[in-house]
């Protein structure tokens, strides 16, 4: 009879979830074998998107302070995690973002002025154009995870070679819906990619207080699916891991959970959160040294693909487009109650038919 071993099965687990890094903080390739197959144009486009998004963040914070934007969750620091992962997607793939994941939506096709309308709280901001396969940012942390399993099930059922890509944060990995969604996708071998952007804090609560697990990536084991921990400040590593996950998913090999180790320089949202209450300057400095733009810039400069001139051009274009988008958002018709009633159902039930008449009357005065 074999004896049961009481060795702690978690011993040595950290080796299985070692952080994948391709580009170090100095912009040097540290893992030659895993450098993704990206053309020079792709590399430049990735950098353009990251610079654009950094400007968008700075301008969004300013516009929010001026009262010209509403709800806004800062993104600075997470550009590699957000845009590197999205860059691995195809247009027909389906995006289920969380509230901080507006940049991915924009690069998936959501016009910028609509992203601003989302921030302000206007339904038109959520009306994805017909060719944009995405839902608007999810506010209920975890709900997007079970829905992603459903989208992925749909792709598989309909025989489409596409994936559902969804995001949550480190706090979100504590939700029941997080486990359920990953587990369902695993049970159905559905083509879904679950990205957990571990930015170290859920508002003020550090990741150590979310779970005793060493990594979030290892939570994949509970669903029996592959999990990877990636340097979320390294755009090449993020792209590479997500691209591999996409390839496996469309080949019918099921979902993947990916933890990107990243950081948000700003507050949780612009609604009164003060990060100095729970973060130290030292911590901010440490992470800013790992900045995704700095290291990718160095890498591209080393390949003669990037210049200060080019970067300034993108900064100016971004500022100009943001200005235009805000103007366009300003011009959007104000919402009426009758608009809100009309988007509730395909056919209005009796109570809403009555209320529609009531508000039509009010609005005509």
């Amino acid at each position: 009879m074999t004896r049961v071993s009481f060795k702690n099965p978690l011993e040595g687990i950290e080796e299985k979830f070692e952080m994948i890094q391709i580009l170090d903080e100095d912009g040097q390739i540290v893992d030659e074998d895993n450098v993704p197959d990206l053309s020079d144009d792709d590399l430049v486009e990735l950098m353009r998107r990251m610079v654009y998004t950094r400007v968008l963040d700075q301008r969004s914070i300013a516009l929010n302070r001026q009262g010209r934007l509403g709800f806004y969750a800062p993104t600075a620091g997470q550009e590699a995690s957000q845009l590197g992962s999205h860059f691995a997607m195809e247009k027909e793939d389906f995006l289920l973002p969380a509230y901080r994941d507006v940049p991915q939506l924009i690069f998936h096709g959501l016009p910028l002025y609509q992203a601003f309308l989302f921030s302000r709280g206007h339904y038109h901001g959520n009306q994805m154009p017909e060719d944009v396969n995405a839902v608007s940012p999810q506010i209920i942390i975890g709900a997007q995870i079970t829905q992603a399993a459903g989208v992925a099930y749909g792709f598989k059922h309909n025989g489409k070679k596409n994936v559902a890509l969804t995001y949550t944060g480190d706090g979100g990995a504590s939700q029941g819906d997080f486990y359920e969604g990953v587990n369902f996708a695993g049970a159905y071998k559905a083509p879904a990619i679950f990205v957990v952007q571990n930015n170290q804090f859920a508002i003020s609560v550090p990741v150590e207080k979310q779970s005793a697990a060493e990594t979030i990536a290892q939570k994949a084991a509970a669903a029996g699916v592959p999990g990877y921990l990636v340097d979320g400040m390294d755009v090449l590593a993020v792209y590479k891991v997500v691209k591999e996950a996409r390839d496996r998913a469309v080949n019918g090999e099921g979902p993947t959970l990916i933890e990107t180790m990243t950081y948000r320089y700003g507050p949780h949202t612009m609604a009164g959160d003060d990060p100095t209450r729970y973060r130290t300057d030292d911590m901010d400095d440490k992470w800013e040294k790992r900045d995704p733009l700095v290291r990718f810039r160095k890498y591209l400069e080393g390949k003669d693909l990037w210049s200060e001139e080019k970067e300034n051009e993108i900064v100016e274009t971004a500022k100009e487009e943001i200005k235009e988008a805000i103007k366009k958002a300003d011009k959007q018709d104000k919402q009426k109650v009758t608009d809100l009633i009309s988007i509730m159902y395909d056919e209005l039930p009796q109570n809403l038919e009555e209320q529609m008449e009531e508000y039509k009357e009010k609005e005509s005065k």
């Binding site: 389906f94 289920l96 339904y123 038109h124 959520n126 009306q127 994805m128 839902v135 608007s136 209920i140 709900a143 995870i145 079970t146 829905q147 992603a148 399993a149 459903g150 989208v151 992925a152 099930y153 749909g154 792709f155 059922h157 309909n158 559902a164 029941g176 819906d177 359920e180 969604g181 587990n183 369902f184 049970a187 809100l340 988007i343 509730m344 159902y345 395909d346 056919e347 039930p349 009796q350 109570n351 809403l352």
Partner: protein, 325 residues
């Protein structure tokens, strides 16, 4: 035509829609090979395959979240929640997500799903199986809530629910599953949602009921007839939105009304019907509109169901109170 129980009529409706529309998917805990804990999905997986009728992991939130996601891929999900007491697990997916899908996307997406779920007392189920939670659902904009009381309605309403392009909660009373048989056409037919049915005409008092309480109301009406009181019995069939026109028309004729539900008095939907009647027909009323409902306690331990659940005697008593007001 065939004699069917309500559960057979439900299976027949699911079969009809699986056959009619290849985008209809039926899934939940044990609905596949097992055919459902009440046999509602019996034989369906065998006929339509595991891609169309399938089992899920045991997680209600995951089941409804899955359905919401599927809705974006041109599918028409018909998920089952094994007992409606378990809806708390899925409240966000139902009320926070499915119900809001069309509105939050400005019409870009919608959730054409029908959530089937058994509920209702009188069969000595264990805890949190029989609770009447339709009131929670009826308060959520974006949902429709359907509760059939007989096999004929169950088939027509379920077909219509599945075809509806917005989320429908279809609640099946466990006591009515096999309590009687009725003629149900084999061919397809549908019954409009939001339309009540006058089950019995009367001139002295209006009974508004749904689910198992429809049968209690009819029994009460039989008893009252012997005393010369003619009750009109309305079966709501859809509890959200309520067919208020049919109710008001009846109340304007009888000038008295009792609203009857199995749920606790503080729950269910009776209070909103009373409000509607007083807003629209107060000058026609000879007496206050009364309610028959369960006591405001947690659903009873099974041995206490008989003393707790509302029945036809409670209805007779309230009717007399109204007549003698």
């Amino acid at each position: 035509m065939a004699q069917m129980t309500m559960i057979q009529a439900i299976t027949n409706a699911l079969h009809t829609e699986l056959k009619n529309d290849e985008n209809v998917l039926v899934f939940g805990e044990d609905v596949g090979q097992n055919g459902g804990v009440f046999r509602a999905t019996e034989g369906l997986q065998e006929e339509f395959g595991e891609e169309r009728v399938f089992d899920t992991p045991l997680a209600e939130s995951g089941i409804i979240g899955l359905a919401v996601g599927m809705s974006t891929q041109n599918l028409r999900p018909v998920p089952e929640i094994q007992f409606f007491g378990f809806v708390y697990e899925a409240m966000d997916a139902v009320s926070g997500q499915a119900a809001r899908m069309r509105y939050r996307s400005g019409g870009r997406w919608h959730a054409p799903m029908t959530i089937r779920s058994p509920f209702g007392g009188g069969v000595h189920t264990p805890e949190l199986h029989a609770d009447s939670l339709e009131g929670l659902m009826a308060q959520q904009p974006g949902l429709k809530v359907v509760i059939p009381s007989n096999p004929y309605d169950a088939k027509g309403l379920l077909i219509q629910s599945i075809r509806d392009n917005d989320p429908v909660i279809f609640l099946e009373h466990m006591k009515l599953y096999r309590s009687f048989r009725e003629e149900v056409p084999e061919e397809e037919y549908s019954i409009d949602l939001g339309k009540a049915n006058v089950k019995r005409e009367g001139s002295d008092i209006t009974f508004v009921a749904y689910g198992a309480m429809v049968h209690a109301a009819l029994k009460a009406a039989d008893e009252l007839k012997e005393e010369g009181i003619e009750a009109e019995v309305i079966d709501l069939r859809t509890v959200a939105p309520v067919d208020i026109d049919t109710i008001i028309e009846s109340v304007e004729k009888t000038n008295r009304a009792v609203v009857i539900q199995e749920a606790q008095k503080q729950a269910g939907i009776a209070a909103s019907i009373v409000s509607e009647i007083q807003e629209r027909a107060i000058l026609h009323l000879e007496a206050p509109v009364l309610r028959v409902a369960a006591p405001d306690t947690v659903y009873p331990f099974s041995e206490a169901e008989e003393v707790w659940l509302p029945n036809h005697k409670d209805i007779v008593e309230k009717a007399k109170q109204s007549i003698n007001f």
